[in-house]
């Protein structure tokens, strides 16, 4: 039996499926938590700009600084650096929940920036019209700005899901589980290229599916 031999009958149900489930869990939890916080931060980044509905220079500067500091840190280093914070919040530095925490921190600032950039495309005239009707700031944000930017936002989130799948693979290093750990431990470290490439193929299919769903949703929202 060569190193690259795989017993598919046991590998698929015992290794691949659980790993896929773990990845899906980590990615969806991260997208849910970081997605919501990132939406709020991104909306604040946009609306606190000069001349916008919540214009506030100090808040805008602080938010921009935070995003610019965290985003360039390579995720693998962020994982290690977050160690103390992770154990304080989650209770442990290892495992899936620890990975989700680190992924949320890493993703939230990227999401904030993507949200902000997609909201820039909102026609200021539409916001002005809503103001002219006497709409409150929160109504303008939730009932005008976000719906108007929804199509691009969906595409932005789709882009981020793929980035988060990438993060989840690295989380394998801290015992995060999932496809990343499978490829690393069973594939790379045991010189079993077949497993590595199988996992890569699964990730490619996953990413393709996410992109397809994102495109469909965005097209439905934008009716194009």
């Amino acid at each position: 039996m060569s190193l690259s031999d795989v017993n598919w009958d046991t590998f698929i149900p015992n290794k691949l499926i659980p790993a896929l489930q773990e990845t899906l869990f980590m990615v969806s939890m991260t997208m849910l938590i970081a997605g919501l916080i990132g939406l709020v931060l991104g909306a604040l980044l946009y609306t606190t700009r000069q001349g916008n509905i919540l214009a506030n220079r100090p808040i805008n500067i602080v938010l921009n600084f935070l995003v610019n500091v965290v985003r360039p840190i390579p995720f693998i280093i962020l994982l290690a650096a977050l160690g103390p914070a992770t154990s304080a919040v989650v209770g442990t530095r290892l495992g899936t929940n620890a990975a989700i925490f680190a992924m949320c921190v890493g993703a939230v600032f990227a999401i904030a920036r993507i949200v902000e950039q997609n909201m820039v495309s909102i026609d200021p005239g539409v916001v002005e019209a809503a103001r002219a009707m006497g709409a409150s700031k929160s109504r303008i944000l939730f009932n005008v700005m976000i719906p108007e930017a929804l199509g691009p936002l969906i595409l932005g989130y789709t882009f981020l899901v793929i980035g988060v799948v990438d993060m989840s693979a690295m989380a394998g290093y801290i015992g995060g589980g999932g496809l990343g750990k499978l490829a690393l431990v069973d594939g790379y470290q045991r010189f079993n290229d077949m497993i590595t490439w199988t996992v890569v193929a699964v990730i490619i299919v996953l990413v393709q599916l996410v992109q397809l769903i994102g495109n469909l949703l965005a097209r439905k929202v934008m009716r194009r």
Partner: protein, 351 residues
Amino acid sequence: MSQVPQTASRGATEMVELKNVTKEFKVGKNLVTAVNDVSMTINRGEIFAIIGYSGAGKSTLVRLINGLEETTSGNLIVDGFEVSGKRESQLREARTNIGMIFQQFNLMNSRTVAANVEFPLKVAGWDKAKRKARVAEMLQFVGLADKAKNYPDQLSGGQKQRVGIARALATSPTLLLADESTSALDPETTQEVLELLKRVNNELGITIVVITHEMDVVSSIADRVAVMEKGRVVELGNVYDVFSAPQTATAQRFVATTVKTSPTGEEANDLKQRHKGYLINVEITEGNDRLGQVLSRLNERRVRFNIVQGGLETLQGKTYGTLTLELIGDIINIDAVVAELQTVTRVQVVR
């Protein structure tokens, strides 16, 4: 033109009052005065036009009326409510009483036509049944009942502006602000939208402030007009009075966009090349029949005349314009003719 409406006429005759209103913007380190010490009154039930070139401050002025821009100094009162000096949150209720339409329509592309018209009603806190009924009524009024479920990007420019009008009027405001509302439309659609604005004024008794750089818009719907230049109102009055006898260069140039006025420069030289007689320009005004009488007796003075250029326009049911005449005869006789013409109208020698 518009009558004083029975339904909306409450309180004073003033709908909008501006007293020494000034608006300054900071552009980098410079202070730009967009609106400079403007005082005027817009009456209840009229269509009031503000005309000027881009950068004249008219769009800023109209945004001061509903508080989208804050006044720097002066007082601005709309329907008895002081808008100037108020914060955004204090203006919300007043704004449901002021509709606004825009050059680029500013409809929400993520919502259907019906949902766009419904939005201000939600803002104003109407309950669902009342909202539905009002949306149907407004779409009927603008002739788009069959487009209720369409999205704005499925409509033509004229249809979009009609949705804009339905949306602006949904909450039954007493005042409608129209900011270059036909500037993005072709001439035919422009007429459609202007007709609709006239109906809004006549049938619903809503006061309308129209911002435009197009003379046609003013001449087809407005009762009174203010001419703006560099942040100031330089002429104000009945449309006929202002445009039949424009005082400022700006107003004269606007008049020249619709009727041929006294020829100058190249045009005058060209006319003189082609016509060797003595060229004069006579002003035509409504009800002046004495000019015709003088012209019909030119034979007696041994002077012939040709009409070589001219333009007449009807404004508010009254004619105005100019004709350029070529007078042929002895110079002494021509002088006498010019002197007589000067007793009946304004005469200018073409130089």
